[in-house]
């Protein structure tokens, strides 16, 4: 497989064209995080609902390239139903994987595993991680009982 075919796997493009769990809920039950990458214009909001330490609902909405938008859809499916500890492990593992560093290949990652190809495209690292960073932030906001609505910019590296 060429680098490109490895980056743009069928699964990724399928999530891009047919995103799952897309669209936000207008309710105070959710922790939401809005992330923007001012350099490229990616703009993404994710929402999670946590019950008994478990992520029971995930939604996302935004605009951006196929990698960032599909990753939000994939993330929403992958972490649905996980408890917070599991979810945090998956986030870290995913980030290591797309950076091209050592990661736990045994860990359950769902469709997120296909983002391995990103490691050959360092310029796309931020696209692949924006949704997962938003999730990480939403989880820590929940754990710290801090703001339910968060606005952030991704710093330019």
């Amino acid at each position: 497989m060429s680098n490109l075919e490895n980056l743009y796997r069928q699964v990724i493009m399928d999530h891009y064209k047919n995103p799952r769990n897309k669209g936000l809920k207008d309710s105070e039950e959710y922790y939401s995080v809005h992330l923007k990458n001012p350099t490229c214009g990616d703009d993404l909001t994710i929402q999670i609902k946590v019950e008994d330490n478990k992520i029971t609902e995930v939604y996302h909405d935004g605009t951006g390239c196929s990698i960032s938008m599909s990753a939000a859809s994939v993330m929403s499916e992958t972490i649905m139903g996980m408890n917070l500890e599991e979810a945090k492990k998956v986030i870290n593992n995913y980030v290591e994987m797309v950076k091209g560093e050592e990661f736990d290949e045994e860990m359950f990652m769902g469709d997120a595993i296909v983002y391995q190809g990103v490691s050959q495209f360092p310029a796309r690292f931020k696209c692949a991680t924006i949704a997962w960073k938003a999730l990480d932030k939403a989880i820590s906001n929940h754990e710290n009982c801090s703001h339910r609505h968060d606005e952030e910019k991704i710093e330019v590296k």
């Binding site: 490109l4 493009m13 350099t39 490229c40 214009g41 951006g64 390239c65 310029a123 796309r124």
Partner: protein
Amino acid sequence: MKVNDIMDINKIRKDFYVLNNNDLAYLDNAASTLKPKQVIDAVTYYYEKLGVNIHRGVYRLSYEATDLYEKARQKVAELLNCQFEEAVFTRGASNALNLIALSYGMNHIEEGDEIITSELEHHSSMLPWQNVARAKKAKLVYVPLNEENKITVENFKKVLSNKTKVVALNYISNAMGYMTPVEEIIKLAHEKNAIVILDAAQAVPHIPVNVKALDCDFLAFSGHKMCGPTGIGVLYGKYNLLKEMEPIEFGGDMIDYVGLNEVTYKDPPYKFETGTPIIASAIGLGRAIDYIKAIGFKDIMKHERMLRDELIDKMSQIKGITIHNPNTDTGIISFNINGVHPHDAASVFDEENVAIRAGHHCAQPLMHCLNEIATIRASVYFYNTREDINRLVKAINKAKAFFENFM
């Protein structure tokens, strides 16, 4: 040399290490150009043979460093056709444009005054004035762009008024490659006693610029977009304006007399060059000016336009792409592959070793006008070849075909 080649490109390309060391179609020249070895050598000469401060030392090495630094200023003055004292070295175009706004703007703009700019500006041309307008309760007025998103004299007249104090516009748009009709705009603005600032970051590297003929009040450009080093740029200002302007930075080198409670400053340009300047980069810029002049703007323009025509011609034959500026005046072409986000396309280009820019090009207001989140921009310089254009066209076709697979 081919019959209709304008200059000896192969010879020129040998001067550029980056072109020799990479199999690369470099088409991101509006962001930064590559540097020829002559410029790198000039910078290295300073670090290897001199390495000392300027103006301060009374020894031989310092004398030579000072001489090279000031000779570079002289080259800038000759390039722009201004006086030596009217060329201020800055860190770049952004730094120069901010200096004008913070010094001239903050001291001259009053509540209710109007500042004209446009949605076609680079953020560095427009944001310093948005800041002044906010601080002084002045009004920022945008020239309406025409249907091609150009600035026209007609539309400029619609916003010019007796309240206009400052006109801050690009000379050539970095996102669309249009040339602003600055000659007439400057005349009209002066009839209202408004001053005109030209963001010439995309002009000075590509076309002859004569500030006396233009009669603009200020003009700014960057060295790194014209074969020079990063970290150096120029602010041109009419001497009488520079003379009465307040410095915005205070400290070493810019002073005449310092007392405990009072200070007098040097005359321009020195009162705006606080602290040890970017000596090596200024020397490098001087060398870059020599290099470009030796090729000549006439040939540079001809060559760039030939490549542009060829690119637009070839791109027009590809279905499913939108060219935003088919009537571009320069070698800057902005486009989208329909249905493909520019960053997705950019990864295909990257695999093909075609360097272009995908993004908002520091012109977010323009992206709203174009109704796009981002565009792809290809921009040529004198060292580009038809082969580079062919490689870009091939990459566009590849990106299209690749993403059509998933449709």
